[in-house]
Every structure is written in structure tokens, then in C-alpha cells.
Symmetry: C2
Subunit: 341 residues, 2 copies
Amino acid sequence: MSQKATIHDVAHHARVSVSSVSRALNNYPHVSEALKMRVVEAAEELDYQPAFLAHSLRRGETNSIGFLVGSIANPVISTIYEAAAEALATNGYAVTLVSSRNQADLDSACLRLLASRQVSGLIVSSASESPEPARRFIQEANIPTVMLDRAPVAGERVFAVQSDHESSIREAVRHLVDNGHRHIGFIGGPQGFYPTQQRFRAYQEALAEARIPARAELIRFASFTETDAYAEALLLMRNRPLPTALIVAGNIILIGALGALQARQLAVGRDIALVACDDIHLTQLYRPPVTAIRRDLNLLGKTAARLLLQGIANNGNRTDRVIKLPTQLVIRESSDYLCDG
Amino acid sequence: MSQKATIHDVAHHARVSVSSVSRALNNYPHVSEALKMRVVEAAEELDYQPAFLAHSLRRGETNSIGFLVGSIANPVISTIYEAAAEALATNGYAVTLVSSRNQADLDSACLRLLASRQVSGLIVSSASESPEPARRFIQEANIPTVMLDRAPVAGERVFAVQSDHESSIREAVRHLVDNGHRHIGFIGGPQGFYPTQQRFRAYQEALAEARIPARAELIRFASFTETDAYAEALLLMRNRPLPTALIVAGNIILIGALGALQARQLAVGRDIALVACDDIHLTQLYRPPVTAIRRDLNLLGKTAARLLLQGIANNGNRTDRVIKLPTQLVIRESSDYLCDG
DNA sequence: AAAGTGTCGGAAATCGTTTTCAGACTTCGA
DNA sequence: TCGAAGTCTGAAAACGATTTCCGACACTTT
């Protein structure tokens, strides 16, 4: 019935010129109140919305930003996304979400797709550490970009928001050592994955500080699937002496590890102390509740959005290039006991 | 350095006209091999990619589809999304995701935003049942639309994909009744929420079939927050006699209810039988594992994508308008015992 | 009275494509 | 050999906005 009205229809209906309509609707100076009123009225009457494509084509910006993730099915990512998207939406941006399905080699293609859609900004939180082509693309595309909990990329308009994984991991190791543990296992995500690298480094440094030799066979890395994490956990548990404590990096790993421990009949919080790196619902509802590193995912998303918006607006002015947000170790029953070993 | 090359640059570089470039690149008939070769070569040399905005403006379609959700932080939704988005991506569509943040009154605005971006299709899985304005908008916008696990909407190009919640709920009630339960509680999502309505109806019918009078005080509805679900569960547990079994509709409700049961010192699988409506990781890892209704979320997403693509292509031809996918009750220890009450 | 200032309309350029139209050239059958 | 049909190609018109340029007023101000 009502084919979408064009700016010409509005002009005709308000008995003014198209240029006046454009000026009135975009709040340009030198336009009288009376004319503005007439135009706005006519626009509302015809339910006029400027054609997005024509508008963007002429203006040269799409008011939409691209969000690249490894998997949106990861509850941590989706929570961050929700927060960021809300902040962006209130600033008039729509966001197109692309998932690389945890395949790092797809990153480049995904970014290229987003760039071809001429997004005004980019938030990158792809699964594995982006390989060289993807990083180079970000550098050269000259699109304002925020790396979200990922390694920073050199570039004029590239920013980064990170969580301070290291300090909490160090605190966790100290906590375990204080409770008498000397065989502390570690299961990380993929080795190229930035948070995994940070956590692993902190784990090693904290062990060194406590003068505890790292046992290589108690260290494993898993991909982003529960079944793989399960398998790696089982492999780790084959070693003797068994670890008396275990740090699992990430919620997927946690799920796999819990399954493996149950299969091995190892009681969390008695036979083995457990520390998780994401404070998801499971950690609080599990019996016993499991110690975890909490971070404000909402703040993380909001900060990424804010930084990106600044990067788009300031056009390269001075802003913080990388922001590191705090984390907090929440000690629960899974690790809050003295090791008798 | 290299500003994006336009079709004119390619034309100039290949020493042909712009129209020929367009024809060659879009595989139109009546273009000689020689010319095509020259054009393709020049295009590659300049790394030419057609400008999305201009392309879409002229063609009248954006090759992007809008996805409206209540909250992407819900793991069930995000899993479905991931599957649908992958299917759409392989068909050349990008998807812009909009969350109404579980506020039903925002649905209309979100849809309007998506429509103004001139999406070629719409998948709607907003949180609560869309109120009248949103439904009317979908009807009138004449955009191919798939309602995902939501009430179907009358309209020429509106389709629906649903899960068969009823049959599994009926099976669950029968299962509980067979085990001797006669006081079976029910906690649903918001009353306007379509899956909640279906589950609740099935719950009532199954009770009636078993000639068990429904106790109104054992029925509660919660919003989409864990704290609210927690509160509602506590309220439900105030009644005497206590229910010996509980059906919780949805993963958020499950989390709240588990917290409440723990607070009340009620042992799941002994004091009270528990049946959940989403088979998330938690249900399998919880001790005891909790009985849940499983459905193929991947299939759900893929089916929605397929239906939408057909709706876009067939332009109103005959296809299935609504598809109902099966569900399956997975009985675990939380309910697999005889009621002694 | 001349000059400046604010307001508005009309025409036209622009963004980068796709699509239509018409002309030029080949091929082919009568 | 001539017209018709078919193949190739380029020029120009869309698509729907924003933006620029210029001219026409109606007011002030000097």
C-alpha cells in the first residue's frame, strides 16, 4: 500500500524544495522555525524515513559497526556483545555480527566481508589469535578498530580493551600454594589464544616466585570444544603424582574438565582443588561451588563501545590506546581448604 | 595508500566502458571472452570490490538480514543464532543482530530500525510475545520473515519454525505421574511468552488426563532474570504440602530454581524431582544430573535460515508456512526415582 | 540608497553502481 | 545482395539521498 516515501514526496507535500527538506531534517543552520515545522509535520504524516542506502552512499558512512567473534555461543562473549551492542545502539549504530566459527583462518575473510560492507568501526574478538593476514588487514584498512581481550595491533586508529588476567592468576596460584599445594595443573585454551598466553605466563611466573618447579606434564592446552577439553583433562590426570590443584582457563575448558574429574571419580574440593577463569553460573551452582576469576563483562563491552565511538569521532586524536580492566578472584569451596598431600 | 578503486578506474584501466565492466563482472550474456578477460584482469590488478552501498542502492536489496532477539546472552538463543548465521553467511548474506533487551515494548522500534536498513529478510525471536504494534509492523512491512519459536503471524511472506514443546512436557508429566508424583509444580517464563504458553497448556492438559487437579498455588511465572526466578521459586516452596516435583521452563528459570532449592535445603532427586526445559551443560554436570527436554538447536537455526532463504527467493510461492521440530525428553537422576510421598 | 544578512527555491553535481537504450558490427538465410 | 536477426559495446539514465551554487527576496543597518 504505502510505498516508502522519498524526500521528493515530503517536499511536495510540505510545498517546499527538496534541499529545504534535507536542511530541515538534518538540523542545518539558516532554516526558519516555520519551515522546519512544516517539513517535520509532512515527514511524520508520510512516515518518511531517509533511505539508508542513499543516505550512506552520499555521506560516506554507514553508521553501522562490525563485530567479529570466534563464537557467539560462548556465554562470556555473548554477554560482552550484549553490553557493547546496547551502548552502540543508543548512539545510533547498528551492528552486524560475524562469527568465524573458531577457525582462525577465516578471520581474514570475515574482516574483508565487514570492510566491504563499509562499516564505520570494528570490534574484534575472534577466537584464536588472528594470523598475519588478518592483522595486516586491520592495520591497512584504516577502520577504527577495538581489539577486545586480544593482542593489540599497531595502527593509527586501533585500540584495545583487555582484562587483567595475569594478576588474578598470580593471586590464584599464591592462594593454592598457601594452602599447601605443590602440584598445580593448568589447562589452557589454544596456545595462540591471547588470554591463554597471558594466563599461562602468569601461572609460570607465580610458580617460579614460589620456587615451585613447573612440571611440564601437568600443563595442557585444548581447543574450543568441550570434548577436546575433556580429553586433555583425562590425559593430564594420567600423570603421577596426581596434581592436587587445577587451574582451568575458560568456561568451555571448565565444562570439559568437570566432566573428566567426575569420570575419574575425583571429588572437587577434596581430592583436587579447582580454579576457573570465568565466573559463569555453573561455578556458583556446582557443588561444591568453584573458585573463579570474576570480571565485569558489562563494563568490558561498554568500554569497548566507548573507545570505538571515541576513535570514530576523534579521528585520531589523543585517547587511551589500550585499557586494562581489573579482575577479581572469588574464592569458593572448590579450593578453600588445606592440601593434606 | 590505495584508495578503493571504483568501477570507473577498472574501466579506464581495461580501456572499456563502465557498463561493460559491470556486465563482465556480473556474468551477463553477450560479452566476449576477450573483454571479460581484460576486465577480470584489471579488476584483480586494482583489487576492485564493488561498493556495497551503490550496488545495493541500485539493485534494491542489501543481501543482509535482520535478526531480532530478546537477549543474545541466553545460551539457547546464541546457539540457534550461530547455526542460522552460518547458513545465511554461506549464501552470501550478512546478518545484523539487534537485541530488544527483553523489553517487549522495544520490539517495534528494533524492527523499524532493521526495516530502515532495508534488510532483505527478518528472523524474529524477541523475548516476550511481541505486542500488537510489532505484529502489525511485521504484517505490513512485507519483508520475508521467520518467526523463531514464536507465535506465527498472518502474512503473505511470514513463516514460522517452532519446537514441539507440548509433547515433551506431556511426556514429562506422565513420567512424573508414573513415578507417583501428585503435587507437580510449574515455573514458567513470562505469561505472554509463546513457549511458556505452549508448555503451560501441555502441563495442564497432561494433569487433566491423569485426573490430577491442578493446584494454582504451585504455578508461577517469572521474568527473564535469575533473581526473579529465584524469588518465584521460593514463593512456590512456601505452600504446603510441598510439591514433590517441579517443572522449570527455560534455562534462566532453571538456574534461579536450583539456587532456591539449595537455599531451602531441598535435595534434588530425593526431596524433589526436577525437570528442565532446556538441555544445557548445567543439566548434565549438575549432581544429580537433571532431566531435561532436548532439542536440536543447530537444526532449528538451519531450518529458520532455509525457510527464510526460500521465502526470499520464491517470492511467495508455495512452501511450508510453519514447521514444527521434534523434542526429546532425556530422563536423568533428578527425576528417575519413585516418589515415596 | 546602497550594502549587508538571513531565508528559501531551483537546478545540478555527486556518491558508485546497475540497467536501459540505441548504435555498430557480424552472421545468416532468402 | 539485402534485410533481419543476433552479438557486442558505449553513452546515458536511473537509484535516493546530500551538497553546492546561485539567484530572489525581505529585512535590517550604515
